[in-house]
């Protein structure tokens, strides 16, 4: 799934580690999400959406 998590993170000036800490996940999890190699669960996607104050559909595109 395509996503703009990296772009939003960089807009905030956060590192992957900082974002990971805010979401209580590992940095490798954030990297896997940003590179599109891992699709987060719904709870984690909601956490991301709330953190970036953006709808989930804005952050993630399932290319349907």
């Amino acid at each position: 799934m395509k996503n703009i998590v990296r772009e939003r993170r960089e807009l905030q000036g956060w590192s992957q580690g900082e974002l990971a800490e805010r979401l209580a996940v590992s940095r490798q999890t954030i990297n896997a999400i940003e590179t599109g190699k891992y699709d987060p669960s719904l709870p984690l996607a909601f956490k991301l959406a709330r953190l970036f104050t953006a709808p989930i559909e804005t952050l993630f595109d399932d290319e349907a």
Binding site: S26, Q28, A32, T35, K37, Y38
Partner: protein, 142 residues
Amino acid sequence: MNPFIDMIRFTPNEKTYYRRSLAPTVAFLAVMFVAAALVRQNRADWPFEILVLLALLPVLPMAWVMKVYIDYFQACDEWEKLIEIYGICIGVLAVGMVYFALGLLGLFKLVVLDGTWLAYGMLPAVMLVYTLGKVVGRWRHG
């Protein structure tokens, strides 16, 4: 960041797990050495039940390692759990298939198998292939 380096870097949870499992691993090796020496030297002198207990002593530190692993797995986030599942599935299924194949060869008397070493080697074999399975998981989803 180099994707290959990132793929093999430990997560904080993994670092904690390896640190916590060091003591029980060392304990396992020490107990294994002592138990083996005692059982071999005292086979004629000591009661059978004592020899059995001595032979099974290494199970205790190994159970400690398993407890540390369970604690680690419970602390894993969702991506880490996915990688662990890759490791466990590939480890168990691959070793299981090899053992099944060996069993067939033994059943048809095409090979002579040492059951003792097969039984003892299963857990180390699963642990080794589990590590390779995690590499596969990280390559696919890392």
